[in-house]
Symmetry: C2
Subunit: 223 residues, 2 copies
Amino acid sequence: MKQPGSSTSERMLETAGRLFADRAFDSVSTREIAAAAEVNLSAISYHFHNKEGLYRAVFEKIVRDLKPVRVSLALILENQLAAASDDRNAYAETVTLFVSRLVDSAISPVTRWRMRLIKREIEMPTDCFQIIMEGHINVIHDLLGILISKISGESPTTENVRLEAMSILAICLQYALNEEMVKARMGWSDIGPGEIEGIKIAMAEMVLRSLNLGDYIDRVRIE
Amino acid sequence: MKQPGSSTSERMLETAGRLFADRAFDSVSTREIAAAAEVNLSAISYHFHNKEGLYRAVFEKIVRDLKPVRVSLALILENQLAAASDDRNAYAETVTLFVSRLVDSAISPVTRWRMRLIKREIEMPTDCFQIIMEGHINVIHDLLGILISKISGESPTTENVRLEAMSILAICLQYALNEEMVKARMGWSDIGPGEIEGIKIAMAEMVLRSLNLGDYIDRVRIE
DNA sequence: AGACCAAGTTCAAACGATTGACCCAGTAAA
DNA sequence: TTTACTGGGTCAATCGTTTGAACTTGGTCT
C-alpha cells in the first residue's frame, strides 16, 4: 500500500533502492520497480529519464540521507578536540564512542540497505562510485584518519594512517555487510540488539588494542 | 585464441568465472560466455545443463582450486604447534606469516577473481553460498580461530575468538576485494608488489597489536 | 584393412519470453 | 495552463533454452 505522506518520486527512490540493494542492477526490471512502488512504468522516464538515472538518483539520495551519520561522527571528534587534548584515557573513550557509532550506523535497519548498496558500488564500481566516494566515504575515512593521527602522532596523510583507517572501517562495517556469513559463522539466526552489543564491545576492544590503547579498555564503558 | 591444453568445459569454467567475477549473474549472458570461451552456445546446456549449473560448477572448481591456500595456512599452524609451544615471540612470527600469506592469497593475480566471486556470494548469497562456506571459508576461519585461541588462552569456540577471527580476515582481505576504493583512498594507480609489501607490514603490525603481541613487532621480519 | 555404427561433442538456427525505452491520449490538482 | 502523473500500447533488442543436424571418435564386424 502506498505511503500517504510520500511523493511519487520519493516512493520510487526508496523502493528502487531496496530492490537494487537486494539484487543487481540488471536483475531488477523497471516493471518490477514500478509495481513495487505502486507507480506507473512511465514515471521512471518522467522523473529520472532512465533506469540509470533512477539508479544515480538513489545514490544521490543516499548521500543526503546519510548526512546525520557524517555529522554524528564529526561531532564525536569535535568534542574530543575541544576537551582534554592529549589525555590517552580520553582518546580511548573517543575511539570507543566512534566505533560504537560506526557499528550502529551500518547495522541499523534504517541504513542497512543503503550500506549494502554502497558496498556493491565499491566492489563493482559504476558511474555512481564517484558520487558515494566524494559524498560519504571520503568524509568518514578522513575523520577516522584525523583521530588516528591524533593518537599515534603521525600525520593524517601518512600511508600507514590511511591503511589503519581503512582497516578499522572494514572491521566495524563487516557485520552489516557480510550478514549471512556472520550468522553462519556465529550460529546466530539473526543479528539483533543483543548481538550488536557484543559486536560493539569486541570491536571497540580490538580497535583500542590496535591503536596501542589496550590498557584503557577496562576504564571505558559503552553507553 | 583457444588454450590448446584445456578442454571445452575447463575453458568454459575459467572464462565464465572471470566474467561472473566482473559482473553480476544476470548481467553476463550465456552468449557472451560462449563467445569468450570460444565455445558453442549449446555447450552450456550440454555440459552444465543450465546457466545456473555452470555458475555452481564454477564455485565447485574454485573450492578445488583454492585447496593449496587452505593447505598452506594449515601448515603454518602445524609448524607452530610442533615447535615452541608457548613462546610469545614464536606466536608473533606465526601470526606475521599467517597474515602475510592471507594477503597474498587474496591479492595474487591467480586467485583475485576467485576471491571476488566468493565475496559476492557472501554479500548476495545464492545456492552456492553453502558450497563456498563449507568448502573454503569455514576451514580458514577455524584455522585462524585456533591460532587466536592459542595466543589468548580462550577456547576457539568462544564468541570473542570467532569475532576476532572474522575481523582479522576482513582487514587482510579488504585490499583485494575493495580494490577501487583502496586505490582511490591511497592515491595508487595500481596495487603492485610494492604496495602489497606495505599492506602486509601494516596489517601484520595491526593484527599483532590487536592480539596483544605489539611488543614483538620489531623482532619480526616479513620474508 | 576397410566398412560400419553408436556415443560423445559441437554446430547453426530458431523458440517464446522478457527487457528498457518510447509514445500518446487522458486525468486530476494547483 | 502548467505540472504531475496514469494507462495502455508498441518497438527492437536481447535473454535462456531447445532443436536437430553435423561432425568426431573409438570400437566392432566382415
